[in-house]
């Protein structure tokens, strides 16, 4: 008996079993590069898709105010962004960065031949990751980057604490790398098997390599234009003057967006709860409604619902809170359109659209960075934007889509006093206003960045006299976890963590 038990115990207590039982059977001990491509893109779904948290908690009370893309009721300390909003955005980005680092490591461990076959997966993930990186730099300035996300390689906290990289250096590094890829796209050939696998795993562009090429070049353009006041601009011309080699997004059909209905990739009910909960997050912004009214913008009726009297009046930020509240409860303020926005379960996640590229093109030509017809680019942008937003309205099911404007109506709009290219001397203001109307609420980080860079259109904000932050901020603050646990590196940048400290490209 005693011997039997000896035998039994020893048999069931092998040293090798200690190791085989260590991993969690509910998790996978292996992973693939292709699965991580999907993982990297999916990790940014919370900031790409129009979901509750992103709209309700993060963007509307902050960027929505600073860009006057939404109406709001004034309150004390309204220009101090909530830590919950800033931290969430930061942490979401670093999750994407972490997934990307793991994918990089998996890729780097492949044999050279295999790496070539998987190159397109890595290129796609990198482009997407750089897009997210730019948005984060634009919000926070210098960020931990080259050393970030390495605890899984290093294994202990102290040695994994990353230094902060200079924001401009990050731009430069990304641009150099994107250029390498842009050139690579001109000759790339993906073996059929891997092209098929890529198509299966790429839920953004469905394996369309030309789309990735356009995304790559359009993203380059976005970075270059954003940095154009402080960085070399020659590359802008290289791209725009050579569309064969460096194609960009030219049509709404090519727009990069997450727009497929499906259980995990659509707005569903979230956009409704984001905008309708508490009854104030769909309030129309004063300036935008006024601009659209004044110029008979064909997009007005698909963007906003009028107030109960059928009038198009946004929430005026210069009124005091009690007047504003009274107007709200009396139903005197316009709201975002129920069918296009608040109850549009198919509202897409925007990444880069044709109109956005056209407006960059217009600005680049106007400023002499590239050759071409600035007016044509500007007007193409307006056409594309109107077309795109009517397309969004048509996805809504809350009520029947509105009729698209006729060519005459669009021409009239483009010829109206404040829109007409010919009639206005400040072309940049024209372009900036159209950028604002186009990206608006849908791409608030882009809307805010362009507003900060161009300081146009001009908005008026009420001052918050008793607050330490009297005017809207021009950047965001680092999370307190950085100060507490990455203090050694944080100390070098803490002076920058100031709501009134401009990011490097914002020199005006």
């Amino acid at each position: 008996m005693a011997f039997a038990s000896f035998a039994l115990i020893f048999n069931s207590c092998k040293k090798s079993d200690l190791e085989t039982l260590y991993p969690n059977p509910a998790q996978s001990s292996t992973a693939t590069v292709e699965n991580f491509l999907t993982g990297v893109i999916a990790s940014a779904n919370p900031v790409v898709l129009p979901l509750y948290w992103r709209f309700f908690v993060v963007e509307q009370p902050t960027l929505g105010h600073y860009t006057q893309t939404m109406g709001w009721v004034n309150s004390k300390d309204q220009f101090i962004p909530p830590a919950a909003a800033m931290d969430w955005r930061w942490n979401t980005y670093y999750n994407t960065l972490t997934q990307f680092r793991v994918m990089e490591n998996l890729y780097n461990k492949l044999e050279t031949a295999n790496q070539a076959e998987y190159r397109i997966f890595m290129m796609a993930a990198t482009i997407f990751f750089y897009d997210q990186t730019q948005q984060t730099v634009d919000l926070f300035g210098d960020i931990p980057w080259s050393e970030a996300g390495k605890v899984r390689e290093i294994g202990n906290l102290d040695e994994s604490l990353p230094k902060y990289d200079d924001a401009k250096t990050i731009y430069t590094t990304i641009l150099a790398d994107l250029k390498v890829m842009a050139d690579e796209f001109t000759t790339i050939s993906v073996p059929t098997f891997y092209a098929g696998l890529f198509a299966k795993k790429d839920f953004l562009n469905h394996g369309d390599i030309v789309m990735w090429q356009k995304y790559c070049n359009s993203l380059r353009l976005r970075l270059l234009m954003r940095g154009s006041d402080v960085m070399p601009t020659a590359e802008i011309g290289e791209i725009l003057n050579n569309p064969t080699k460096y194609p960009v997004i030219e049509s709404n059909a090519d727009a990069i967006m997450l727009d497929e209905p499906g259980p995990d990739l659509w707005a569903g009910q979230e956009i409704r709860s984001a905008m309708e909960t508490w009854g104030v997050y769909d309030v129309a912004p004063y300036a935008m409604v006024k601009n659209m009214m004044d110029n008979a913008d064909p997009r007005l009726d698909i963007t906003f619902d009028p107030n109960k009297n059928g009038e198009w009046i946004g929430m005026n930020p210069l009124e005091n809170a009690s007047v504003q509240n009274q107007k709200l409860s009396d139903g005197l303020v316009a709201r975002y359109d129920t069918s296009s926005f608040t109850r549009n379960t198919f509202f897409p996640g925007f990444i880069i659209t044709a109109a956005e590229v056209s407006f960059m093109k217009a600005e680049a030509i106007q400023k002499g960075f590239a050759t071409g017809d600035a007016k044509a680019a500007y007007e193409t942008g307006i056409d594309q934007s109107i077309d795109m937003w009517f397309g969004i309205n048509e996805t809504g099911t809350y009520r029947a889509p509105l009729d698209r404007p006729t060519a005459t109506q669009i021409s009239a709009y483009k010829a109206s006093a404040a829109v007409s290219w010919a009639n206005n001397t400040d072309k940049v203001a024209l372009i900036a206003t159209q950028k604002w109307l186009n990206t608006g609420l849908a791409q608030m980080p882009q809307t805010w960045a362009e507003y900060r860079r161009l300081d146009k259109p001009s908005f008026v904000f009420p001052e918050d006299p008793t607050s330490q932050q009297k005017v809207p901020p021009v950047r965001w603050l680092y999370p307190v976890t950085e100060k507490d646990l990455n203090g050694i590196n944080y100390d070098a940048v803490k002076a920058q963590s100031d709501l009134n400290n401009k990011v490097f490209w914002d020199i005006k």
């Binding site: 997934q99 996300g149 605890v151």
Partner: protein
Amino acid sequence: MSSKLSLKKCGTLIVLAFFMFASVYAQQLRVSGRVTDASTNESLPGVNVAVKGSGTGTSTDGNGNYSISVAKGSTLEFSFLGYAKQEVVVGNATTINLALQPEATELNEVVVTALGIRRAQKALGYAVSRVSSKEITKVGSPNFGSALYGKASGVRITSAPGGATSAVNINIRGMNSINFSNQPLIIIDGIPIRNGSANDAGYWGDQRIRGNGLVDINPQDIEDLTVLKGASASALYGSEAANGVVVITTKKGTQKQGLGVDASYTYLQETPAFLPPFQNEYGPGYDRATNVGSFGSDEDGWLMETVEGQQIRRPIYRAYAQFGPKFDGNPVIGWDGKIHPYVAQPDNWKNLFRTGFNSTANVAVNKAGEWGNVRFSYTRMDYEGTQRGGKHNRNTFNLTSTLNLNKNFKVDLGMNYINQYTHNRPYLISRITNNFGGFLSRFDDAQWYLDKYQTSKGYYFRMPGQPSATPDENIKYNMRAQDLLDFFWRTLKTQNDEYQDRLISSITATWTIANGLNLRGRIANDFTSIRTENRDPNSIPLSLGNSGSFSLGSSMFSTLYGDAILSYDKKLTEDFGLVLNAGFNGRRETYKGASAWTVDGLSTENWYSLNASVNRGSANGSADYNELLKYAFFGTASFSFKDYAFIEFTGRQESSSTLPPGSNTFFYPSVNGSFIFSDAFTLPSFIDYGKVRVGWGIVGNAPPMYAANNAYNQGTVNGIVYNQVSGSYGNDKIRPEEKHEFEVGTEMKFFGNRLGLEANFYSNKIVDQILWLSVPSTVGASSMLTNIGELKNVGIEASLYGSPVQTQDFKWDIRSNFSKNRNEVVSLMKGVDRLTHANIDAGAALIVSEPGQPMGDILCYLPKVDANGTMIVDPVDGLYQIDFTEMKKVGNVTPDIVGGIGNYLEYKNFFIDFTIDFNLGSEVMSIARQYMKGAGMFEETLKYRDEANGGIAYYINGDGKKVADIATAPTGAKIFHDGLILEGNKPDGTKNDVVVDAASFYLNTYTWGANPAWGIPYSRYDDAVVKNDYVKFRELSIGYSLPLNIAKKIGCNNLRIALIGSNLFYIYRTMKEFDPETNIGSSWVNSAIVQGSTAATRSMGISLRASF
């Protein structure tokens, strides 16, 4: 130990010799003699002298003399409480004088220590607490955990309310882990059993009160329970033992002649107890301004309704608060649509519950002989708790046997089968206590809720205007406590069944290879299979929408355990003894679970099948499995000198699969020694026994399964498979938490063993506390399993016991214990100043740990004060302004002092036994008190409501300002009497003179949250931090033992009947609203927050015990 064995052998030989004589000379003769105490030589009155096997007997008189007529060769049994039983075979001698050894001959008592190694009590260099079977079963406690209150020093018990099916937590010598379990390892007959924690995630994690593994163990089968407290005592259990070990020995067969039969029955009635002190003067309503402004009531809070053409009034049923009209007995229309007199319902809270019961019957047979022994017991428990709808029953079969196969080889078998059924476990009442939506108004009758929670067609209640199959049955007026209606739906309509079978089986073989050399091997398995079935009926007709659900689940836990020990016991010289043990043990724990459920409702009403799932496309199943392996090599070496000096060394080299490969093996050493100075030196005669001891050891607490491991998550987006890494990064370099403990102690006995004392001092530090540390996301994770800090506990434990009175007819025994523990967070990782364990009501209060403080400081915001410490009152609203710049410490959740006193009094055949226990020095966060006080539910909130309760009179002037000087009131102005002026200064430094009405004061000062940005500028939580000191009259048993001769006539050897009760009343308590013990959750943080478990109960009943 060896000397004791030889003595026993000697004794056996003598007894055998007498037997031979007896068989030859079987004739009647009269025997007399005197019985004395062996240590004092004093005569002993009242000693039971029985003729074995005959049913006749007598007892000694006041001088210790007896006289009895017996047959030659028969055996006389001398027994007396507190003394060892002795048997003498009657030979030729007619005078048998006998000296009885006081039970302090337990000097040679053997204690089962770690891994079932037996050691003499006097050789132990560390403290253990022992509790006997009698102590565990005397008041019919449903499990051994709740029977331990106040009975073992340094042991703190907290049991979740909900009776027999709810978890019990045991906490030994303070907190040892910030983040992981603080529950001890439980060993039954050498086998570690599954215990586990319950309800750690609060209401939103699990709505029903769960049990843990220890509540399955039948107290009737326990012979003896030993608590190994310190690291030195438990070091042989390594990483399992940081929280101490409870070693349980089950009953064995002992009856040598005939078949021993024991039977017992207890019946207890459970009633809800310790209910909140509600006020019974005012009904539902808010402050005057809200009643009038938002609900359109008159100034007294009345609304007028027209019912069948008649005008009838009603209060604001929608109000959660109780500041409405005063009860006057006149008719009102109720929310149920019926006319009721407007009176308070003082017992409505109690009537939410019912009277429950617990009936336990046990029968056991046993037999022993040269061949070995056997005991079989069957216990049946039927239980219905105080929550309606619940039902539980349990069958326990226990079989233990020892077979002496030959003189060198024996086999022990143990088989414990527990079969139980639980229907609708108690549901947490969090939605009734901690949620305005479930507040039972002082006007509400519990019966209205029972009548209205479902419609006559069996559907969920409907509010006014809601579509319904029976619209005229809809609730008539919008009332508040819809969550209470929902509670009855969930407890009475929902069908939640659990079927559990658990088999704990073991086989142990012991081979005596040579004298002093033994080899023991053991295989054991603790196997549990649980099947769960949930049937939620359709709550609305299908035409109105989908509802209802059905799920089936099954899970299996298995712990396979084995050990082998080679031991060697050798007397080296006359003075020196040596005992060596070397062994190996291993444990493999497996869990497997699978379940399937319907999605989006049942497509045919109340058809409980997956085929009824409305959505059959989406996932409706889950399957989990996990497994753990631990094994260890261990050894001990003990040396003894002259049987009064002992020293022992132990070591355990343990490997665990929960630790990263490469660093999964750790060593746990210990050393302890004892010195019996009463044997070594000559001491004054009043000292009978004296021992000092000292011990040191290291034990651990390994991280839970898979916590350290890093792997990839896999998921899908729109059906496309992806991989990601999760935000929490395990840690391939994690080390177990390690507890280093040092203890010294003494045990002494005085005055002929009438008084005993035991005292211990211990000091431990627990290094490498493991925590999911929040890390900067820039490193590539949001949290990381980290060895982060150090904890410390320093404490003293003392127990005092004795027999202050001992006469022929009257006897009084007393046992008491006391322990004080001081916990401290010594250090946390660099950069971490504070760990936040609980964030209450969106930051209104926090439970945190900070270096230099005990774990669990409670922080909240307090009123602003000026330089002189005077509180500042807002000049407009008349309420204290709160200083939101800083949170201040207002309490700590770690208790300092626990203990208890047990008394046993016996007069002739009557006895009284009672236990009082106490728990002092901690605070709890009573969120329920915060909300209910703010809502004006408690008696204390009557203060200021009218002049009788200290309210001041005022009128409201033209500016809407409340003016206290009623002499200035214009003619006809209404005078109110519910005003108060808070003590304090206005911000300008002048004394406060702003009148505020009582309702506004309570509603704004004690409410959910504390944040000016959300319009909650006056709320403070310090009043909800309640000192949780109590002294409880825990157990009482008043009984009668039938005299032996009468018992014999009805065929018993022993018959006892007793009235029993537990949780009877509080002698003292600081927390009045809720029972100090009704908190749930095994985690120390959860159990410090009053979050609504269920009503506390008081049990009273009867117990019968007989042996045949």
